[in-house]
Amino acid sequence: MSSVIKANEWQAATGSTVSIPSGTTLDVNGTLDVTGATVSGLTTGSFVKIASQTNNSEVASWDLTDVFTSTYDAYMIVMSGLNTTGNSNAWYFYLGNSDLSSTRSIHWQSNRVMSTNIYNHGAESDTKYQFVQDTASGVLAGVTSGVIWVHNPHTDTLPTKMTHHVETYDNGAIGTYCSQTGGSMATTATSDVSFRLDTQLGNIGSTSVTQRVTILGVAH
């Protein structure tokens, strides 16, 4: 026998803790939004999906807001099929407040390893972090896939740090297949809760290639 309890809010009968008894499964059937709540007892040592989105149209930028909370220290952003309308194009990652009206100053460096050359960017500071130095447009091979790790974004006692590892493609005369790695950190210790993706040139996305971004929290 099953029953349905409908309520807009749970409150503890005594104290301030609402417990799910051991052995009981809480099936949230989707995203567990725990913003503002203190959560304990989460499964440890696993990834927890925060959000996953796709895009199949040309857009100027792509925002995922209020995804970094105090629940996790580290987040992995998994990106696949990132594609651009502009050629010889850099991809940018912004950290910021909830609606990204304020974005952080970020210090970054990266390496682009190609079949015949290695190019390095170092000691760069900007309001954004370049996690792809150069990639092609239009061709299917030109899409970028990879990950960005984000560490301690929510706390305002440690500056947010990031590392990236992506594979992409440059249709220039030198190289072609590019593996890109690097890292960055915010220049001040500020609570960052949202991020934005865009590029140096033109819109991102197309109807022919699905872009997907999934963000996972690491439960220690």
């Binding site: 100027a60 792509w62 925002d63 995922l64």
Partner: protein, 84 residues
């Protein structure tokens, strides 16, 4: 190609498409139309522009066979483009 505000798509925010104001579009157009500043040192820019050892040796081989100066012209043009 110079971008205009008509080229700027909407913003995707948490899966929803949000139209941008004229001012927001203009800010994005200004970014797109501003070339990325390359802060790398000259020797790194030259290293990229020289190309691979294999392609340079191939140029030198053909220069030797044909009596041309393709490789010298290439090296001089790279040095001119990225001065010390």
């Amino acid at each position: 190609m110079a971008y205009t505000k008509d080229d700027v798509g909407p913003r995707q925010v948490n899966g929803e498409l949000v139209d941008l104001s004229d001012a927001e579009k203009q800010k994005i157009v200004d970014q797109w139309n501003t070339p990325e500043v390359d802060n790398r040192p000259y020797d790194e820019k030259r290293r990229e522009a020289y190309g691979s050892w294999e392609s340079q040796l191939d140029m030198q081989y053909h220069d030797s066979v044909n009596g041309s100066r393709t490789w010298l012209d290439h090296i001089e043009s790279v040095k001119d483009a990225h001065p010390k």
